[in-house]
Symmetry: C2
Subunit: 135 residues, 2 copies
Amino acid sequence: MKNTTIAGLAKAGGVGVETVRYYQRRGLLGMPERSGGVGLGGGIRRYGEDDLRRLRFIRSAQTAGFTLDEIGELLALDASEDRQRAQALAKERIAALDAKIAELEAARKSLRRLAHDCAANTSGPCPIIAAFDHG
Amino acid sequence: MKNTTIAGLAKAGGVGVETVRYYQRRGLLGMPERSGGVGLGGGIRRYGEDDLRRLRFIRSAQTAGFTLDEIGELLALDASEDRQRAQALAKERIAALDAKIAELEAARKSLRRLAHDCAANTSGPCPIIAAFDHG
DNA sequence: CTTGACTCCGTACCATGGTACGGAAGCTAT
DNA sequence: ATAGCTTCCGTACCATGGTACGGAGTCAAG
């Protein structure tokens, strides 16, 4: 998997080539030297394990709810000494996740109520709006 | 709280006036008659409990992860006889929430690892990328 | 040494869910 | 009856996170 092209990197990371390029534009992934370079444009960039780890991290951090801007900061912090900041970001996000998870669990509860009530009586509309009344 | 203006409705629903208007444009909220109507434009629209319930439902359904398009369908279903479809949407969303919640819990776990590892050793960078390695 | 696939890059376009602007008309308090 | 806040409405703009296009260059295989 080492020393692959952008298509290989993208595939290994489970994203499209354009997405990799987008992350590069955002500064989240680096642009390895274009090797070969006979003509005016230089050659083709080649990517390694590090790039893949970075790409995978970006995706994981996204599911953790970080924005791409925040992920940029995290990637910078990964190579910096600012432990304080890293901890702060982590803790902040944990709190946000706690809240988000609770919110989703509440929503799921409402949906279960809806599914249940909907199955219960066999005529008339399901009480969709009512299922969310309260919380 | 009944028979209020758009600003009252918005406030009661915890959104801005422009958001209410946006939902109206999307067809999620109705446009009550403009009452008064001496001049060419008619009067001012007034909103009641039903509108507020609808608005609150929209917000709840959003936190459940429904898109506004889906919410439009739900609102239509609330007044229709298609129990099947309502159930299907609910079950589908419950499954999506199960997955999402699991995902967020995994992310939280990684973040806790990060916070922990970050607190552990007192020099050098926090292993941010590594904290998400694996899962 | 050409063909065909892939790369590079800038730029444009997209969906989602809003948020803002600005003029005209409506309402309310003084 | 007039000042000053709202409402109404169309239209424009925004942030986020991509996705697509197209021309020029590169590379491997036949």
